[in-house]
Subunit: 554 residues, 2 copies
């Protein structure tokens, strides 16, 4: 058998490697347009930041090493120009020599990835405007930061990052760590658009506190050379920023030119359409990685999920099917994570906005547990949001932001989501506990308790998004201590500290709505239980307390 | 309703708190023999080590705070002397005044915990021999370390810890950090008996490298005062150790005296017998926590699992059932973890020894992935062992030891085990990946790949435990590079580096058994695939490679 793979990084090389292991006799050829294969895209920002000092550590394999270990014929600097399904061949060009030739295949895997979106704005072709996708992009940006660029310029001092997704934020951090003053421009009114807004505001403050400027809710409108030699970035809100360098990190677009030209179907979102076996619409042609769109575990329709984990595993699944196995790639859940300075944010499954947009009914809880036992040093409270089905409690998605233990809780929730588990299952999970790692009731158990209470109607919540409507005509009761109340409280709230509540409520009107809150929702939950069991008929407690409230309304 | 709870820490106080929330009108009385309730047992070693500087941080609640927030009547320094099921009452003694009285109950929760085992050895009542279970125990040990003991002695310089389970190891670390020279004595020939041996040897070396002495495979035989004023610990192997202080950390025994006297049934392991609703054999009496035995998710029979997570959740389940709900406590899986210096070890479900003993058939894989992407600084290889059912691939258990990301993988596996997932499910898990947190193919995916390959017979393994038998009459092929081979190799092994294998094998006898190995099992897997597809009929590759081999045989 003759297998040809287009693209030699995550999906492509995983596909080729797996194919070799399943079929020792196959001829396997990988074409890669760039000068490197199997490199760590995800490490690029960190080499610029010199967290990864040694550039060669990003180059996980070479054509030579892949030939030696897996007998794969890897041809770098070789672009596939066209696919000829009728002839079962591809036309390629050796970019060094310019030589073009045709290479036949029996099975073809299309793994061309995605390209950074370059908005068609005036001046966008300015030489100091960059994208970051490959080793070459990194080299150019790093040279500018180091003061080693071909132009002989000194190290840059100012940078603008367009887009506050994870690549934009990682680059903001890494440029900042190199002494560059960074401005991040983001069209949305929040960073990290895959997360619900209230999860992002604390991280925004944290990033700003580090001296990185965030301009949210605005966009780049045009780029120009200003008289002083600066690169001038005009924003749609009328402001402008002077800078040395611009990084475009406003998302990626699947690379589908080859597929389209070959008559391969695209999906509704513009990615290559595949079935669960990674087969495209053309027999013998598979596709995997950032170029394809895939079904979602929670949301209807197909989605573009340009992430390395799915890309690697899709490549592996494609290889299995090419080699005669019958393997299905499960729907994706879009688990993603980003570290910015010491903060971590991530999500899995659907977020609330996506559920709203898709009309999927859901319930939600927001809690603020510590990463590990509070009495053991080195922890902080995280914000943990879990979304689940109203009746069954089946998980739909989760988002977390915090410092320690965020990645762990995210992976546990990603696993539970994949396993079709419910919030009731979260109550019972038996997770590893010692003081440096968690709590006897882990944050995940806590989320399960609160969510299960909600479903069992042992708890009724009101949400920051319902303010002020939810408090109309209600008594707003702040059950925190008087000092906490004195610092800040909701307008109109009465302070009835929890220890005094059972006494104080005696002469209250039981039919008047009561809206409780405290710092995170625990004390107001105790108050809720005390009141409803005393005949109060319309009581709700604020989900996530003042902490969620303030991150929502900030 | 009148609820009485015996024991006011993890199980007892969680039970009382949950009962209050479910039943605001219940009268809830908690009896606690000691002077503290709701304290953090698990933090005790760390206050001795001054990692947790402030003692008061271990006292999570007081009778006062529990009265204020939950209207619970907590009576400390009050021992329950007897249960009278016939009269539905308990007899208690106020330990300060000596006053005894009877307290009626409608529902009783028995949560008396467990006590450290004190072996009946000569001299074991020596005043410098301690256990560590409560705040008072901690205070005495800390005073000895600080040089503040009543006797006016200077700070101790030498300590012996009997038992290398997690409490023993945590104490060894914390005493060591305080400048005490520590000897750990452990009956088993390994530390951390809940883990399979090959997972513990690296940690043993690491602990020794920190200057803590381990004496494995021996036991304390007697204690005596030696002429120089030392406390002398004789060991069963004839050796002895001179020390200032001994800590007995050789396990705990469920506290069942009250239950036995009241005619409550015990289970085969000597813990209080309960059903899944936490009901004992006597109507109206529930039990939870370290005192009970419970069903295991994987192993037959009932087990003693003296851990804080289960204790807390059992207490909560007991309360639900006492308050008329119908809640079942799921079987336990014994997820546990320990940090020693910077190393982390833990397990979930069954280990190999337990499966052997129970006659449960299993398969296993051992891999050595990095905690996160190797090119991003701050990671190290972990040892990850997964046990699963031979045909279905359903998870049975896992053990991990390493530095970064161990707790995360353990919790993911604990979740997957609870969810009844298989190794095939692990292949597809979509875990959070960015370079500081994992790899595009996470260690968990990798374990799934290897295990699934084994089940699909795409891979055949031989194990360190089968050496030398498994290599009898076989060609032993070391596919590592010549330098690696030169440093150390298996006796009789030929060095055929992977890049030369396809060439070298041409004239080999295809029917002669071949036993492959490399450093961790990856290169030998590639070699395996290359050979079996070339007609070799009896090829096996060493599970976990030389790394597992050496940790098994060290
Ligand atoms: C800076 C950065 C940071 C990232 N960080 C993370 C992260 O932390 N976590 C995460 O999950 N993901 C991350 N990603 C995304 C991840 O790298 C991608 O999802 C993954 O690489 C996609 O794999 P792929 O094989 O589909 O595409 P690619 O890795 O892009 O590989 C496609 C290859 O195909 C080649 N190619 C395209 N067309 C042709 C052609 N016609 N002929 C020959 N070759 C061709 C391209 O040159 C390219 O090398 C990051 C990406 C970047 C750029
Ligand atoms: C040093 C140490 C470290 C630990 N570290 C961890 C860890 O890292 N992770 C983990 O999961 N677990 C750990 N544990 C175990 C954990 O603390 C226990 O599993 C948990 O506390 C058990 O809860 P329990 O309520 O059953 O028993 P306990 O917490 O022991 O509470 C029982 C209480 O009942 C009281 N009592 C007993 N009899 C009577 C009576 N007759 N009358 C009145 N009161 C009575 C006792 O005084 C005691 O306070 C650790 C334990 C210790 C000692
Ligand atoms: C480097 C690259 C070619 C590796 O692919 P690979 O050969 O499949 O090797 P991996 O290191 O991923 O290991 C997975 C394979 O090794 C096997 N394996 C791993 N450890 C093993 C062990 N200890 N024993 C036996 N087998 C083992 C797995 O079973 C799997 O084989 P399978 O797919 O046949 O089941 C590819 O992953 C790549 O190009 N990565 C870099 C690009 C990238 O991902 N970029 C984006 C993220 S930064
Ligand atoms: C301190 C102690 C009394 C706390 O018990 P508790 O009142 O159940 O409180 P927790 O802090 O465990 O929180 C759990 C409860 O709060 C609720 N909760 C937590 N966060 C919440 C939030 N943000 N909003 C609403 N409810 C919340 C949970 O639903 C749960 O209530 P439920 O059981 O009625 O469902 C008890 O855990 C204890 O004694 N612990 C120390 C002893 C110990 O565990 N030692 C061994 C380990 S070191």
């Amino acid at each position: 058998m003759k297998i040809v793979v287009v693209g030699g990084v995550a999906a492509g090389m995983s596909c080729a490697a797996r194919a070799r292991r399943l079929d020792e006799s196959a001829e396997i050829v990988v074409f890669e347009r760039a000068n490197h294969v199997s490199f760590a895209n995800c490490g690029l920002p960190y080499h610029i930041g010199e967290v990864i000092k040694d550039r060669s550590r990003l180059l996980l394999q070479t054509p030579q090493s892949l030939h030696e270990s897996l007998a794969i014929d890897v041809r770098i600097a070789t672009e596939v120009l066209a696919i000829r399904p009728d002839r079962k061949s591809v036309t390629v060009r050796d970019l060094d020599s310019g030589r073009e030739y045709e290479e036949p295949y029996e099975q073809l895997a299309l793994c061309p990835g995605a390209s950074p979106i370059t908005p068609p704005l005036p001046g966008v072709d300015h030489p100091d405007i960059h994208v970051l996708r490959r080793i070459g992009d990194m080299d150019v940006i790093k040279a500018a930061v180091d003061g080693r660029s071909a132009s002989g310029r000194p190290p840059i001092t100012h940078g603008v990052v367009i887009g506050a997704g994870y690549i934009g934020l990682e680059m903001a951090e890494n440029l900042h760590e190199r002494g560059v003053q960074v401005v991040v421009v983001e069209m949305a009114d929040q960073i990290m658009p895959p997360l619900d807004r209230e999860l992002t505001t604390t991280m925004e403050s944290y990033i700003r506190a580090h001296g990185v400027e965030l301009r949210l809710g605005t966009q780049a409108a045009a780029f120009s050379r200003s008289p002083g030699g600066w690169l001038r970035v005009e924003l749609t809100n009328g402001e402008f920023v002077q800078t040395d360098l611009v990084l475009l990190a406003a998302g990626v677009r699947p690379s589908t030119e080859l597929a389209v030209a070959a008559g391969i179907d695209l999906g509704p979102r513009g990615g290559i359409k595949v079935d669960a076996h990674m087969r495209t619409s053309v027999p013998g042609i598979y596709a995997a990685g950032d170029a394809i769109e895939v079904e979602h575990l929670v949301l209807p329709g197909t989605w573009l999920i340009p992430l390395a984990g799915p890309a690697n595993r899709q490549g592996r699944v494609a290889a299995e099917n090419m080699c005669g196995r019958d393997t299905v790639f499960d729907p994706v859940q879009g688990t993603s994570i980003v570290k910015v300075f010491d903060m971590v944010a991530g999500g899995t499954g659907a977020n609330q906005r996506q559920l709203d947009a898709a009309g999927v009914p859901y319930e939600r809880v927001q809690i603020h547990p510590s990463g590990h036992a509070g009495y053991y040093p080195g922890t902080a409270k995280m914000q943990l949001k879990v979304l689940f089905e109203p009746v069954t409690g089946k998980l739909l998605g989760a988002g977390i932001v915090g410092f320690d233990g965020v990645d762990k809780r995210l992976d546990v929730l990603a696993t539970a989501l994949r396993g079709g588990m419910t919030v009731h299952d979260l109550e019972g999970l038996e997770l590893a506990y010692a003081p440096p790692f968690g709590s006897a009731k882990d944050p995940i158990n806590m989320a399960g308790f609160v969510a299960a209470n909600l479903l069992k109607k042992d708890l009724r919540l009101w949400y920051p998004s319902e303010y002020p409507g939810a408090t109309d005509g209600a008594r707003i009761i702040d059950v925190r201590g008087p000092q906490e109340y004195a610092i800040w409280h909701l307008p109109g709230a009465e302070n009835v500290p929890l220890p005094t509540l059972r006494e104080a409520q005696q002469d209250w009107d039981r039919s008047r709505p009561i809206r409780l809150y405290c710092a995170v929702g625990f004390r107001s939950y105790l108050a809720y239980r005390a009141l409803v069991q005393r005949g109060f008929t319309d009581v709700r407690t604020l989900s996530g307390g003042m902490t969620t409230f303030r991150s929502y309304h900030d």
